[in-house]
């Protein structure tokens, strides 16, 4: 080192758990254990489904059904995962989906056909995200409050547009995408959209500077700022991203339900948050996992599917859903703390 004095070596550089290389492996293993425990839960559910309803559950059509039903909320959850990872929250996702889906299905919009519906849904989603982002990043509003305000206004606006009426979609090219004939190699188009959004989301979060900045802002916003990251701009982008996902999801929901209604996206915010948290994204920010979120969504959708196939009623469904959330989080905490 220097020739002036012989500075002592720091002997305290050891990691509490083990030596250097094993610690690294331990970190990887822990990330894997978290995912594995989710896969375990999913496998257990598949086992339950397969035992209770072998014919109906273990069926290609049922797989298509589960994935399709999970794809709309799945896309919303990918956006939500980014927001939560950054230490924020977006309570307005369900309302944005509702507003985008009704705006995109008004008589006037439908005159522009497929492109008109798609474009409107996405633009409305992004615009709502922009408002959220500006309020939070530059208006210094708490995300909880800003997005709660957006929830109320977007739902209100959706109601005003529809007057409570169901807007039926009459564009064949839109409706056809939800039919079996549109499946490619047995894969429904909505599921493909979900897969693409998931992969892009994973890459952005894990492989890009945008993802790193998201994690940094969520882990320690002050440190991120002092490290030279434009925290406010990052926050703006994140809520824009969530809005974009809502716009895409709204379009998917229009395809799926063949209509636009102001009640669309009911309680999406809670479902998306629950799926992300079960997946292993920290509600306090700083750690996010797209894989986990998607597994969380699939777990919820599979539960709903198994319940419906076994003809269990909503009261049982709700109780079991709550119990499974608690169980999944407990299992994860245990596996995370013992490795």
């Amino acid at each position: 080192m220097t020739q002036h004095a012989s500075p002592p070596r720091d002997s305290t550089g050891k990691v509490p758990s083990a030596g250097a290389a094993p610690a690294w492996r331990g970190l990887m293993a822990r990330a894997d254990v978290r995912t594995l425990s989710l896969l375990g839960v999913l496998a257990a559910l598949i086992l339950i489904g397969g035992i209770t309803k072998p014919d109906e559950f273990l069926d290609t059509r049922n797989l298509q059904l589960v994935l399709t039903q999970g794809s709309v909320i799945g896309v919303v959850t990918v956006g939500m995962t980014f927001v939560i990872t950054s230490g924020g929250i977006d309570l307005s996702v369900g309302a944005i989906v509702a507003l985008a889906s009704v705006w995109a299905t008004t008589v006037a919009t439908q005159e522009y056909g497929f492109a008109g519906i798609l474009f409107t849904a996405v633009i409305v989603g992004v615009a709502c995200g922009l408002v959220n982002g500006v309020l939070i990043a530059y208006g210094a509003m708490v995300p909880f409050i800003a997005t709660l305000a957006m929830l109320a206004s977007a739902r209100g606006l959706a109601l005003q547009i529809t007057d409570g009426k169901t807007q039926i979609v009459t564009i064949p090219s839109v409706l056809d995408l939800g039919e079996r004939d549109a499946y490619v190699l047995g894969i429904p188009p909505l599921v493909m959209v979900f897969a693409v959004v998931t992969i892009i989301g994973w890459l952005i979060l894990n492989r890009t500077t945008f993802g790193r900045r998201t994690v940094a802002v969520g882990g320690n916003a002050e440190a991120a700022r002092l490290a030279g990251i434009d925290v406010r701009r990052q926050r703006l982008y994140l809520y824009l991203l969530s809005g974009l996902c809502c716009g895409i999801a709204a379009f998917m929901l229009i395809i799926l339900s063949g209509s636009g209604q102001n009640t669309n996206g009911n309680l999406y915010e809670l479902d998306a948050i629950a799926a992300a948290i079960i997946g292993g994204t920290l509600l306090s920010g700083g750690r996010g996992t797209i894989t986990g979120s998607v597994l969380g969504v699939l777990i919820f959708t599979t539960i709903t599917n198994i319940f419906a196939l076994n003809n269990l009623q909503s009261d049982v469904q709700q109780i079991a859903k709550g119990a499974i959330i608690v169980a999944a989080v407990l299992v994860q905490r245990r596996t995370a703390s013992t490795t």
Partner: protein, 506 residues
């Protein structure tokens, strides 16, 4: 066997956490009325030991005797009932409650069993604060509005509001200025003369010399020495026991240089922030380390953060290479080549959940990315190179940064700026929470970076550190520079006189 059993006697305490044995058969005897110092590097087991003592952790094996009787400290409440109070380093006060409410939290004076008698609580709090030498703290104020030092007094008042027999203080002087440390020592003296035992934890050997009676040294979860006389055991021996080495602070030599060489790299002109510090001029040349010495509250950290753009100045400007920086913009400062190692490393610099690599690369991500796409191999390689250059241990940048010692965490922050190619380094309390043994190495790193052409601006509350490391020293008092001189022309006494008196010399 002493005729009177010790107040506290812990024998063969072991405590393991998943993957780590924090305590490995530790013995500790504390007599009533003594100041018993606990020494040890970070990770030596001090925190675990005092948590066992406070009832926050249950030992795996070992016995605890209190006045000769075997006891089990099942919970913090059980410890408190015996008369054991703990003042943690991270103060556990409720910011949104008043001083009096905090002091009496959990044992509020009540009427009819549940109506809190606020007046009684405030009166007894006033008494306690007076006893602690801080009658100026208003019991009705919110704790969140107090300074760190005042909060510590409140924390102490809370401990004393119980019938306390033994009080544990975990690095109580860390956030205090010399005069406040004096007050602390006076309080400790009062306590011990009243027969209360004090377990005192500190990094600062000179403090232990001043107030300690006996010393127990911990290393790697074991007590390597117990009950040594605090005043007479040679420093060399204590350091050797803590580190396995026999050195104290070693400052690197200053390279010989002519005083006027080179254009200033960092120039601060009339920079001021209303209410924090007055217009300030300073220059730092490449290869130069300039130190700011002053008490807590003298505006040291505020000056650094304002130069860095983290706070908006009310007047003046900052120039790098003669070009003015956009005021109040961290990003502009970073782009111009400034880097800050802030005072609160964990809160202001580090992403604690992330690996060393990501902590190091966070300010230079564009360097390993194309179109936002990160080349992780290049990132890891660069982080490895930067951390190796600073001898960061362990030599594996993939470990989580939170598993590192304080000194190595600081090196991770320095590596961040090294990787960024930063030319002006702002260091705020660079050795806070860093072990004695690791400090010298950090000093050498800073000096070497300066030798390589960086301009370094250093802030420290430890005067010897500023004097030993800096080339030039600015002495601050209440937001104003009262003296500027080459470091070799100053000594600790002179600086302390200046920060106290503020008599403008020369």
């Amino acid at each position: 066997m002493a005729p009177v059993p010790p107040l506290l006697s812990m024998n063969g305490i072991t405590k393991s956490f998943p993957g780590v044995r924090a305590l490995d058969g530790v013995d500790l005897d504390v007599q009533a009325g003594e100041v018993h110092c606990l020494l040890g590097q970070n990770g030596a087991g001090k925190s675990t030991l005092i948590k066992v003592l406070a009832g926050a952790h249950q030992p795996d094996t070992g016995t605890i005797r209190w006045r000769g009787e075997g006891v089990t400290l099942r919970s913090p409440i059980a410890a408190m009932r015996l008369g054991i109070a703990t003042i943690y380093q991270e103060l556990d006060l409720v910011e949104h409650l008043s001083v009096a409410e905090n002091v009496h939290l959990g044992h509020e004076p009540t009427a009819a069993g549940f109506v809190v008698r606020g007046k009684v609580a405030r009166a007894s709090t006033t008494q306690l604060l007076k006893r602690l030498g801080h009658p100026e703290i208003d019991p009705a104020r919110l704790v969140g509005d107090l300074s760190a030092a005042q909060q510590q007094i409140v924390s102490m008042a809370r401990a004393l509001s119980h019938d306390v027999r033994l009080i544990v203080m975990d690095e109580p002087s860390a956030a205090l200025d010399p005069d406040e440390v004096d007050n602390l020592f006076r309080i400790v003296g009062d306590l011990t003369s009243a027969g209360v035992a004090v377990v005192y934890i500190s990094h600062r050997l000179e403090e232990i010399r001043r107030i300690g009676d006996r010393v127990t040294v911990l290393k790697d979860g074991r007590a390597v020495a117990g009950g040594l006389p605090a005043k007479t055991t040679p420093t060399r021996d204590v350091v050797a026991m803590m580190t396995g080495r026999n050195v104290e602070y070693v400052f690197p030599e200053r390279p010989p240089k002519d005083a006027t060489g080179g254009e200033p790299l960092l120039e601060v002109r009339g920079l001021a922030r209303h209410g924090e510090f007055e217009p300030l001029d300073l220059t730092v040349r490449p290869g130069e380390i300039v130190g700011l010495a002053g008490l807590v509250g003298s505006g040291r950290s505020e000056i650094l953060e304002t130069i860095y753009g983290a706070r908006k100045p009310s007047a003046g400007q900052v120039l790098v290479d003669g070009r003015p920086l956009k005021p109040g913009s961290v990003r502009a400062a970073v782009r111009a080549g400034l880097g800050l190692a802030p005072e609160e490393r964990k809160a202001q610099a580090l992403l604690m959940l992330e690996s060393v690599t990501r902590n190091v690369s966070v300010s230079s991500m564009s360097r390993f990315s194309r179109g936002g796409w990160i080349d992780r191999a290049a990132e890891l390689g660069a982080a490895r190179a930067a951390t190796r250059e600073l001898s960061l241990r362990p030599d594996n940048p993939s470990v989580p940064v939170r598993t590192l010692s304080g000194g190595n965490q600081q090196k991770a922050v320095l590596a961040r700026w090294l990787l960024r190619g930063c030319r002006v380094l702002l260091l705020d309390e660079p050795t806070r929470g860093v072990d004695v043994g690791a400090r010298a190495e950090l000093y050498a790193v800073v000096r070497r970076l300066a030798d390589e052409g960086l301009a370094v601006l250093l802030v420290s509350s430890e005067v010897p550190e500023v004097l030993g490391l800096a080339d030039r020293v600015l002495v601050l008092r209440e937001g104003r520079v009262v003296h500027t001189a080459p470091a070799r022309e100053l000594d600790e006494h002179r600086v302390l006189d200046l920060v106290m008196e503020g008599s403008p010399a020369s």
